[in-house]
Symmetry: C2
Subunit: 202 residues, 2 copies
């Protein structure tokens, strides 16, 4: 049920980008959605909701990917959750599939809810290596893009260049590349697996 | 059924921003959604879909507004349609409510499907008066914002300033103001009304 062929969602693949307002998570979600949908040819629906839950500067953006037209565009059970702060990690961890991927900013999330986690210091990399904290979202996008197995690096870059403000292409590309590099260090097979019922087993 | 108190959607109010890729319609939709949701306090869901229909540079972004949590986030029957080119106007006109508002760029849409239309030369205003065609989306946002009656001008401006690239605040604010000005020239009561069945009458 949870096996997926890289690049080919069997039915739905759901990703949530979460953190604080101002971290650029909606932009990251849109670029990811465009890379997967327009350039990589899947059906994609990208959503953000505002309301009482958006108060206090919380930010959340979702991308649902499918090989079929998407009937319900909001995420139901996440395959991948990016949490760019502790609150987002705590609130949304329970929306993950049993063996879904949890990706966190290790400089901003201190308490991990599970050992099945991919922790990368996105904001620190953006600030200290790229020289601009604002592009932490693009570092994270690089990591999420590779880990999703749904998009080629070339298309991710193409979508990024089409949407970032003119004059910031280079710095954003550099940020994306650093995120891709971080993802390539991760061995998904070495992550602990959640205990599943027989029903969930493949 | 179609009467609405300005600023208070009785149940759902649905808006679609449509045109070509590169016209900045997703950005306009996001700013509108944030103005209505975060600053004006409604429940808001903002969506874009990519897939076969997004091919050929078509672009479409939706905002659904409600006083209650939103169960289904995609638009079902539009209350307001912004069409920034002929193709978008032709394709989406039939998704409008009988007395929904059709707003078009009068320089880019030549054939009107109805006389119940609000036609403003958004792109021409942006190019000739503001000096930058790229901000046509913000001119349109000003017009759509006022005509929706869902958001204050102050909050629309606040949401815009929070999201446009640094250094472009003034030109975007100017574009928004021109769009607001155009909306204020429109007399909604003088628009022809669609013929409705008894069921639809108020």
């Amino acid at each position: 049920m949870n096996t997926r062929i890289p690049g080919r969602p069997t039915h739905r693949f759901e990703v949530r980008f979460s953190g604080s307002g101002g971290q650029g998570l909606i932009t990251a979600a849109i670029i990811f959605a465009e890379a997967v949908g327009v350039y990589n040819g899947h059906y994609v629906c990208q959503t953000q909701s505002y309301g009482p839950e958006a108060r206090g500067g919380r930010s959340k953006a979702e991308v649902v990917i499918s090989d079929e037209p998407i009937d319900y565009p909001k995420a139901l059970k996440l395959d991948l959750l990016l949490a760019m702060n502790q609150q987002a990690c705590d609130s949304y961890f329970y929306d993950l599939q049993p063996n879904g991927l949890l990706v966190v900013d290790s400089g901003l999330v201190e308490q991990f809810p599970t050992s099945r986690i991919i922790a990368v210091p996105f904001t620190e990399i953006a600030r200290d290596e790229i020289g601009r904290e604002l592009v932490a979202n693009m570092v994270a996008l690089g990591t999420v893009g590779v880990l999703s197995s749904l998009v080629s690096i070339e298309n991710l870059e193409k979508a990024l260049l089409a949407r970032v403000p003119r004059g910031t292409e280079e710095i954003n590309k550099k940020a994306l590349s650093r995120g891709i590099e971080e993802a390539n260090k991760v061995s998904l097979d070495s992550l602990p697996r959640a205990v599943m019922s027989d029903e969930d087993e493949v």
